[in-house]
Subunit: 251 residues, 2 copies
């Protein structure tokens, strides 16, 4: 087979946050597959066919990409952020594992991107400066009991916690429960970041305390970073404070 | 003050993995500060003064950058990978917090980059496809007991685990102990990735079982990813298998 699939990380939104390798992969694609707003970020050009689909059908989208590649096309599957972090790459490999055995012999590559937690962290300072974890708060794909057990584990062990998919219209209460669990383990003044649409025109980043975060609404485009016990602010007068987690943990 | 510090993520090594924003920040710098091999990655040009220093002195390097900026210079501090992940950003903000109060009013920005775990994951498939954590295995800055407690927590809770700084000449045994702990919680056939110098000419990526990893030497340029219980290989005949972690956790 001569076709290929490249899963391309578009980063958080600003085209200046794409890697050169990702830009080149987009320039070489014949077919572009992805969630509607990600496909819309890539300019139209002659020779590029766009296939924009709704968010809920990652596995169908993956199968579509693999079938096109098997027919000889150069396909780019686009993801926001990094494709390997709660995005399209895992769906592609799930489809490869369970699909047509010939798909295993396609050229399938992943072009990494700036995932949301790195983009949000960079805007504020270095909140991920110590050990940290990344969790999806969606219980569409795993039981809620697994999510709470994982949250308890990393809260106890004092990791900085990045929460992807914290909320949606179908999952309105999970973030509140997660922040409630956090409050069982961390002080009310622990910094919590709500980062929405980082690097896009509608960017809105809020630095809250854990107590405030429990009273604050987030939406689907938001990611949440819960600080560790040592995460702190550096006040700067009128300017937004820096937020960072020291590298050291005292004995 | 008119000077500035930008902490720039150079990514894993291949210049094609820099973001455009990072490239622009390097092009605008008057002074370049960083660990010798990172500074060496940036081409010389008129008007750019390079200050390359040894690895062990992050805080001195941060102070140097801030003093230069306070004197009016446009300074870029370069980090491999992403500056916010076990790299220079936290050191800069530690220096800001404890140093000259005037430094808080400098323009200090961070340009994110592709951190090693994302680059390594992209090379192999989607090993970070589920919940994951990133830990530094260095006990230079935190007690070994904290490290083992954190490892036990994330092993029990079935996170994929990325280990930064797994080994050095001064810390030869820590990785072996960490993999021994992993073997208490995960099956011997669990995939473990040793990824060295990803995207550089001397790149060497090995996909091992946990049992094999315990018998294998790593070096300072290696990062280690320990799979979760569901992390698996997709065999591809003679070609390197894909490695991925499914998005779903069964009930």
């Amino acid at each position: 087979m001569t076709g290929s699939v490249t899963v391309v990380g578009l980063g958080p939104g600003d085209p200046r946050l794409l890697t050169q390798a990702a830009s080149e992969a987009l320039a070489q694609a014949q077919d572009l597959i992805g969630y509607i707003p990600y496909v819309a970020r890539v300019p139209d050009r002659p020779g590029l066919t766009k296939h924009a689909t709704d968010n809920r059908v990652e596995i169908d989208r993956a199968g579509h990409a693999l079938r096109l590649a098997a027919s000889g096309r150069r396909v780019a599957v686009v993801s926001g952020g990094d494709p390997g972090v709660f995005a399209m790459a895992a769906a592609i490999f799930e489809a490869v594992e369970t699909g047509d055995p010939e798909w295993r012999h396609l050229s399938i590559t992943v072009e990494p991107g700036i995932t949301a937690m790195l983009a949000a962290a960079a805007r504020l300072g270095a909140p991920l400066g110590g050990d940290f974890c990344a969790m999806s708060l969606s219980d569409n794909l795993k039981p809620w009991e697994v999510i709470t057990a994982r949250l308890e584990a990393v809260l106890r062990a004092d990791f900085v916690i990045s929460l992807y998919n914290p909320i949606s219209s179908a999952r309105p209460w999970q973030l509140g429960v997660a922040l409630g669990l956090a409050a069982d383990h961390r002080a009310p003044e622990t910094p919590v970041i709500f980062a929405r649409a980082v690097s896009r025109p509608d960017e809105a980043i809020r630095i809250l305390t854990l107590a405030q975060a429990r009273e604050t609404k987030a939406d689907m485009a938001t990611m949440v970073i819960i600080g560790a016990s040592a995460t702190r602010l550096i006040p700067r007068g009128e300017a937004t404070p820096f937020v960072y987690t020291p590298r050291s943990v005292p004995a």
